[in-house]
Amino acid sequence: MTEAILSGLTGLIAGVSALHWSHVVMIAIGGILLYLGIKKDFEPLLLVPIGFGCILVNIPLAGLMEEEGFLRVIYNMGILNELFPLLIFVGIGAMTDFRPVLENPYTFLLGAAGQFGIFITLLIALALGFPYNEAVTIGIIGACDGPTVIYVASKYAKELLGPCSVAAYSYMSLVPLLQPPIMRMLTTQKERETVMKTHQKTVSDTTALLFPVVITVVGGLIAPMGLPLLATIMLGNFMKESGAVSRLTKASENEIANVVTLFLGLAIGGTMNGEVFVKPQTLLILGLGLMAICLDTVFGVLFGKILYYVTGGKVNPLIGAAGISAFPMSARVVQKEGQKWNKKSYLLMHAMGANAGGQVGSVMAAAVMLSVLKAMGVI
């Protein structure tokens, strides 16, 4: 009788006995992600489910990521087959207005310059000894785009899904802190005070409607491995511009995006098991991710300076910082910074153009990279 009671009681302390120090660290990290999401408003839609998933998976013996565990079911449903990031991209496309970049197509080039960080970080990751597939996944944090990072990580380095996703979403939230010092460091006061001419409306509804279709076909032919990413964001945008399927557009930006975001966050959190996550390599990945985004800003602003000199001072180099995919946050940072130096300078629409160009640029950079890797036989 006593033995039966004792063995029953051991069932109640098994969880505590199986607790490893790395689980405790990860539960604390999960708590920090919840704090950042709720109190500091750092991408709460992602960081809250990621943080909660992280806490859940680090409670031992619960089996949530075992074969029949509910986190594993969600993970298999949409991460293993890369479905979730693609569905979110449909919503992002439906929420994005590409007209500012269509008003000034040269802002596509700012979107290209803002992707240098991906490739430079990839080189540094290789130099630090990461294998090819992991270096590619770490470099893609520089795309500054959550679904793109998750898509590439799910395909080529699943073990890095947790740190890369957390890095991407956390640093995107930190763009208002990261970018201004870099912008000031690389520009002179005269450059920062440049006033740009206001847009005249030059984009017809037909052009706005054809844009997503043309980009999908041309971009898909150039970089077929990235077509899922490109096609889904352009599908969302096409539905929005058509105006004919408002129910689908609204569902994509609301119900679908919200449900998938919840599942995605939980599944990513579910990969953050302490025994796998807590190692020096993770800190290195977080550091490289930060560097990737800073390098994107550096090259974007430098390209903005080139445009400033080439146009005889008509382009404010600050808008180069908006050539990353953190849409529309980066554009607002540029507007605020421009206003600090010259109250007459309204950079928002120009920066939105660069920012939208960065959105397309990041998807194309990932698509081109995947196609080149396929051609090289690496994947």
Binding site: F108, F116, L126, T207, L210
Partner: protein, 44 residues
């Protein structure tokens, strides 16, 4: 399998070059589309 420097530099040159060229192509296509389908105030 090529060495990591060849791999990385190839990706940098071809990857970044491919991205820039593709986006230049997009901007040219968009400029052409704007000329073919010009904005008309009556649309509003």
């Amino acid at each position: 399998m090529m060495d990591k420097w060849t791999f990385g530099l190839t990706l940098l040159v071809v990857g970044m070059g491919g991205t820039i060229c593709t986006l230049i192509l997009f901007s040219l296509i968009m400029s052409a589309l704007k000329k073919i389908f010009p904005y008309k105030k009556e649309e509003k």
